[in-house]
């Protein structure tokens, strides 16, 4: 099913929200209000948004170190996200997690994860729980091309395939793992070629075309809901930023490669599509939408700043559940 005009606008709004959220997070990180490390998803928004548009609210997702986009696409609250980045008590993790560990189990967002490949099996367990609950729930794992070379990828996909778990594995292939080019670390062109070895479908999609991602996701999700097992979906995409926002971080990627991908920015691509397909969408409308988003982001920063830092002794809480 192709996306309705309303859905397309919603997707555009989400993509722009991710972008604006991260631009602000990057600024405030460089300004010293956000600590540790920030990995930006900018340039890859179509993947999270296209996939999550195909999900039910009670479906579950898991993310990696580059998690803001997945959180927002699954419906996370910007205020609590920003508060977490600011290290405040009202953050999603009460300031214990930071950028690499935002989670909201109440909306089926099972967490960003700081260990590459760490989320693959955890998410597969969520898929097992969905299967056992018999509620046609689906679980989606987002991970990078780098993570696809980790053992957990293999073990998880193989188990999910054997058990026909309702899981969608989304490889966001941005051609780099930190400063190492993908072509140095795997010889096969497409990660999705690996699906065959597990007896499941492997599909490549233009990860910068949110509508294409959405359609591919719908099919895979339908398969999962129908009890036919997992799919490996590979979104070819690119990050616009260096691996992290650390000032002075070098970016070893070739300029031509960057330029070629920048020219296929998923947000202008969708704006253009909306303008052409629907006539009625205009640059003015986009600007108005963007202004609303910027106001939301500003509000999230105000929320974060108004929230207190946790008491130092709060470090001792939450080691164990009751």
């Amino acid at each position: 099913m192709s996306a309705s005009p309303e859905l397309q606008r919603d997707m555009l709004r989400q993509m722009q929200t991710i972008r604006r959220f991260e631009e602000r997070a990057s600024d405030d990180y460089k300004g010293g209000d956000i600590y540790g490390v920030v990995h930006c998803y900018i340039g890859e928004e179509a993947s999270a948004v296209g996939i999550c548009a195909a999900l039910r609210p009670d479906d579950q997702i898991i993310s990696n170190h580059r998690g803001h986009g997945h959180c927002i696409a699954k419906g996370a609250d910007l205020n609590r996200m920003m508060a977490e980045l600011y290290g405040r008590v009202d953050g999603y993790c009460k300031g214990k997690g930071g950028s690499m560990h935002i989670a909201d189990f109440s909306i089926g967002m099972l967490g960003a994860n700081g260990i590459v490949g760490g989320g693959l099996s955890i998410l597969t367990g969520a898929g097992l729980a969905a299967q056992m609950a018999g509620n046609e729930g689906v679980a989606v794992c987002f991970f990078g091309d780098g993570a696809s070379n980790a053992g957990s990828f293999h073990e998880s996909l193989n188990i999910a395939a054997s058990w026909k778990l309702p899981v969608l594995y989304v490889c966001e292939h941005n051609s780099w793992a930190a400063d190492t080019a993908a072509k140095k670390t795997h010889a096969a062109e497409n990660m999705s070629d690996r699906a065959k070895g597990y007896g499941i479908p492997g599909i490549v999609v233009d990860g910068n075309d949110v509508l294409a991602v959405y359609e591919a996701a719908q099919e895979a999700v339908a398969r999962a809901r129908a009890g036919e097992g997992p799919t490996l979906l590979e979104c070819k995409t690119y990050r616009h930023r260096p691996h992290t926002e650390r000032p002075g971080a070098v970016d070893r990627r070739p300029e031509e490669e960057k330029a070629a991908w920048m020219a296929r920015d998923p947000i202008p691509m969708l704006v253009e599509h909306l303008k052409q397909q629907q006539g009625q969408f205009s640059d003015e409308e986009f600007t108005a939408m963007d202004d609303e988003i910027l106001a939301e982001i500003e509000a999230s920063v105000s929320y974060a700043k108004a929230s207190p830092f946790p008491a130092p002794e709060a470090a001792l809480d939450d080691v164990f559940a009751d």
């Binding site: 993790c93 997690g97 955890i122 097992l128 056992m132």
Partner: protein, 321 residues
């Protein structure tokens, strides 16, 4: 309470089966699906996994975070090193790093120790590696009674619990109540009362310590044998109280001493000023030699502590002060 004699291994199985009957959200993951379990609970709840400990341990974490109560059996503890990322970086930290928003009730069972000529890759007692982490509970039962009661508590606990089960004790028989019972995590057990020296012993060494105590009694030395039973939470109060009473401490562990549970117990006891004052002699660790475990039986036996070495340790602390 009416009692039955069953083995340590059987006690573990009973705990598992009874808890799986009690709570339909439990499920079992292991490379082997025991037919008796499959028959009773079905293939959905008794899953035979591929040899992929890392993934099926992670799957257990994810399932736990989604409302189930998985029980994983790694079999030999050495197989769990394949899964260490999931244990250390995920299971032990996941409740904390997400600000406590979700609970992860799950149990990882494994067998520890040596004495079976299986050599270095199948003989290890690495529980202390998990003690330096925060976020895991650790049980180490020494009798059928403790096994059943502790494992039930572990399955009912809302946190990841590692159950270290002694290979040498699998066939050991002991009394177990017919009724349902649990043993709270964090409560040590005085396996024998005494007044001259405290032996804090773990798992198999509890029995060696009891044998040593018998022996020493003949010489008029009264030995108290304390079994911590859980390594986290660790019952400091009981251990310290015993040492304050006796003034002497021997620690017996099937693992090597270095940064082992025995080191932690020695440190806990000596760093407490009141207990330190009460100590009449330096504490003594009676542990495995700090080597990988060799295959050939005489060499293997030489590596492990036993009642004779515990007796020597007791004599040493008795003579020292």
């Amino acid at each position: 309470m009416s009692m039955r004699e069953i083995s340590y291994g059987r006690a573990g199985m009973e705990a598992l089966v009874e808890e799986m009957r009690r709570d339909p959200t439990t499920l079992h993951l292991a490379t082997d699906a025991p037919p008796s379990l499959v028959e009773e609970f079905g293939e959905q709840r008794i899953r035979a996994t591929p040899i992929a400990e890392n993934a099926f341990s992670g799957i257990a974490i994810g399932a736990a975070g989604s409302g189930l109560r998985p029980i994983v059996n790694w079999s030999m503890v050495t197989f769990c090193f394949v899964a260490m990322d999931q244990i250390v970086n995920q299971a032990s930290k996941i409740h904390y790093m997400f600000g406590g928003q979700q609970t992860f009730p799950l149990v990882f069972r494994s067998s520890v120790g040596g004495g079976t000529s299986l050599a270095a890759q199948h003989s290890q007692s690495p529980y202390s590696m998990f003690m330096n982490l925060a976020g895991l509970k650790l049980i180490l039962p020494s009798t059928p009674y403790d096994m059943k009661g502790l494992l039930k508590s572990a399955i009912r606990d809302n946190n990841p619990v590692l159950s270290f089960e002694s290979t040498r004790l699998m066939g050991l028989k002991g009394e177990v109540p017919d009724e349902d019972y649990t043993i709270p995590l964090g409560v040590a057990d005085v396996k024998r009362e005494g007044k001259d020296v405290t032996v804090i012993a773990l798992a198999w060494l509890v029995h060696e310590a009891l044998a040593a105590a018998e022996e020493m009694e003949k010489e008029g030395v009264s030995v108290e044998v304390v079994d911590p039973r859980t390594l986290f939470p660790l019952d400091n109060d009981l251990m310290r109280a015993s040492v304050q009473k006796t003034g002497r401490l021997v620690i017996a562990d099937e693992a090597g001493p270095t940064a082992g549970a025995s080191a932690e117990i020695a440190a806990l006891v000596t760093e407490d000023p009141a207990t330190f004052k009460a100590l009449k002699a330096a504490p003594k660790r009676v542990c495995a030699l700090q080597v990988p475990i060799p295959y050939s039986p005489d060499m293997e036996n030489h590596v492990f502590p036993n009642r004779k070495r515990i007796i020597a340790g007791i004599r040493e602390v008795m003579e020292a002060g």
